[in-house]
């Protein structure tokens, strides 16, 4: 019988001690792995929406709010800006692409955003049925909006005023659904897109000089844009904010929470190694006759060392595997619970880079926790152990 197989039989022969060690390690590994998986999917989610947007132009106010409102559509906008003024920035030589956004109305709390076809193109949104909006009061609907509201091609609806309340319905102009997007995994899924003119309430895209928009998403041609534009806008009611920097600031804010959760997980892992250590020591004390006997049957001390080491590694490996499975069950449960805010796809169950490190570190510490009890197996005096009462 090979040491690895005997080791498995030995740890399974003590289900309670082994179970406790495996359970503790599974929770420690599981929490850290779950955090790594969530962090990856959150980062990917955030990055997918930032996607090449270098700057956001909007009304002065909190830059973070400007980003949250116009890139992620989760906060209210900082205000409106005159389209004529915004156009000056949009045509600036340092800017390569500019997507205007104008909104203020909702349909069943999903935002109706006035924009240009370039907005859909920017996120690579493909049409699933129908076509892209063209004339005023035509809308192309995001996949999730269509699924949740039941809007389909040819339907007409009225918008409600504001972004957070669906009661104040405009009865004057009806929107018509001309197309539905495929799922993109980006913010487009949650929006209804229409020409800007619809938002202004006119049928022609010839706005008078006083028309306003909410924000403009900008792509820079020249890195100097980041330095030049804030100066240019100093004396205007407008500002530019950098999504990458604002989101970085935000993730650092909840970094404290993540760090303390990680500390708790590491503590649980630490306890699990203590538990492996104690389980092995206790089992060796009970089994000293057994180990001495194996020596008399032809197992040299090194073989016993290997046996005890394998017992520790077996528990560690079982804990790691259970932990990785637990974290994936956790992701699936969370994804189902947060189906609205969270775009779940199977790729999220693939291993994160940090997990390889986690597995290696856990195996190394597990081996270390087993090495000390294993060393004591090297030192058994077989004659004294078996000859007691000589």
């Amino acid at each position: 019988m090979k040491p690895a197989r005997l080791a498995r039989r030995n740890v399974l022969d003590r289900p309670l001690e082994t179970g406790l060690s495996v359970l503790l390690l599974a929770f420690g590994v599981g929490i850290i792995s779950l955090m790594l998986l969530m962090q990856r999917s959150l980062t990917e989610d955030l990055d997918r929406n930032i996607k090449d947007i270098d700057l956001v132009l909007g009304a002065k106010g909190s830059p973070l709010q400007l980003i949250l409102a116009n890139v992620y559509h989760v906060d209210v906008p900082t205000g409106n800006i005159p389209y004529a003024e915004a156009k000056k920035v949009m045509r600036h030589p340092y800017i390569s692409e500019a997507i205007p956004l104008a909104y203020g109305d909702n349909y069943e709390l999903y935002r109706i955003v006035g924009t240009e076809p370039s907005y859909a193109n920017h996120y690579g949104a493909e049409i699933e049925s129908g076509r892209l909006f063209d004339a005023a009061f035509e809308v192309t609907v995001g996949a999730e909006v269509a699924a949740k509201t039941g809007l389909s091609l040819g339907d007409t609806f009225y918008s409600a005023h504001g972004l957070t309340d669906g009661t104040d319905v405009h009865r004057d102009k009806a929107y018509t659904v001309v197309g539905i997007f495929e799922t993109t995994g980006s913010v487009i899924d949650q929006l209804l897109l229409t020409p800007i003119a619809s938002v202004w309430g006119v049928h022609e895209d010839v706005a008078d000089a006083n028309e306003e928009i909410t924000a403009v998403l900008l792509k820079k041609k020249n890195p100097l844009a980041i330095l030049t534009l804030p100066n240019l806008l100093r004396d205007t009611p407008m500002q530019v904010a950098l999504p990458a920097i604002e989101m970085n600031r935000l993730t650092q804010q909840f970094g404290i929470g993540i760090r303390s959760l990680r500390a708790v997980a590491l503590l649980i892992m630490g306890l699990s190694f203590v538990s492996v250590f104690i389980a092995l020591f206790a089992s060796l004390r009970d089994r000293k006759y057994e180990l001495a006997l194996m020596r008399t049957m032809g197992a040299p001390p090194q073989r016993l060392f290997k046996l005890v080491l394998f017992e520790g590694l077996w528990m560690t490996a079982a804990g790691i595997v259970s932990g990785l499975i637990l974290s994936r069950i956790g992701v699936i449960l969370l994804a189902n619970a947060l189906a609205d805010q969270f775009h779940y796809d199977v790729a999220q169950l693939a291993p994160v880079n940090g997990e390889y490190l986690l597995v290696l570190a856990a195996l190394a510490v597990g081996a270390l926790a087993a090495a000390l009890p294993a060393r004591s197996a090297l030192k058994i005096d077989i004659s004294n152990t078996l000859g007691q009462g000589r």
């Binding site: 019988m1 030995n10 022969d13 057994e290 194996m294 008399t296 032809g298 197992a299 001390p301 090194q302």
Partner: protein, 216 residues
Amino acid sequence: MLRTQGLRYNYAGEGPQMAFPDIQLDRGQELLLLGASGTGKTTLLHLMAGMRTPTSGHVELNHQAFSELSVAKRDLARGKHMGIVFQTAHFVRSLNVTENLALACTLAGQTPDDSRITSLLDGLGLGHKLNARVDELSVGEQQRVSIARAVVHKPGLILADEPTSALDDTNTEIVLNLLRKQAADAGAALLVVTHDQRLKDHLTDRVELASNPTTA
């Protein structure tokens, strides 16, 4: 098979030196090592089995130095050439009866022979306990399994330490006959270490240990 020469031993800091008579044991031979308690019987057995290193003198196994080998090499040689029946039967608890015997074969460097294990246990009246957990066996059954384990890898020498001390006359005879039969079947030498005077009637070759093995 086994030869001892001028064996002496003293437990460090634990009293005087013990001296033992020289012993020679050949294949197929049976020997009774008789001594009252305190005569160092078990110490002598452990010295012969290489479980202790003598203070002076030496042990030869198959005409080769044994007591001078390293601890690990002695373990390997013992596993291969000897089978030991201890006073109290010990087993690897997580393994069943058959697996404990198979482990003895593996540790002796052999591939376990399942049919041999089964017929051996059958012959000892344990055919119905092949897959039993060892801690579910009665003391008598454990004793028989440990005899089977001592012979399963066909060693040249079987050492038994007080195999009958806890048994009544009937069972003493049964166990002794089992040991002799298994040793004869395996063509092995048998050495029984005991204080049990009853065994005198069965084994004619014997060495009696002095009631005081201490030398000045």
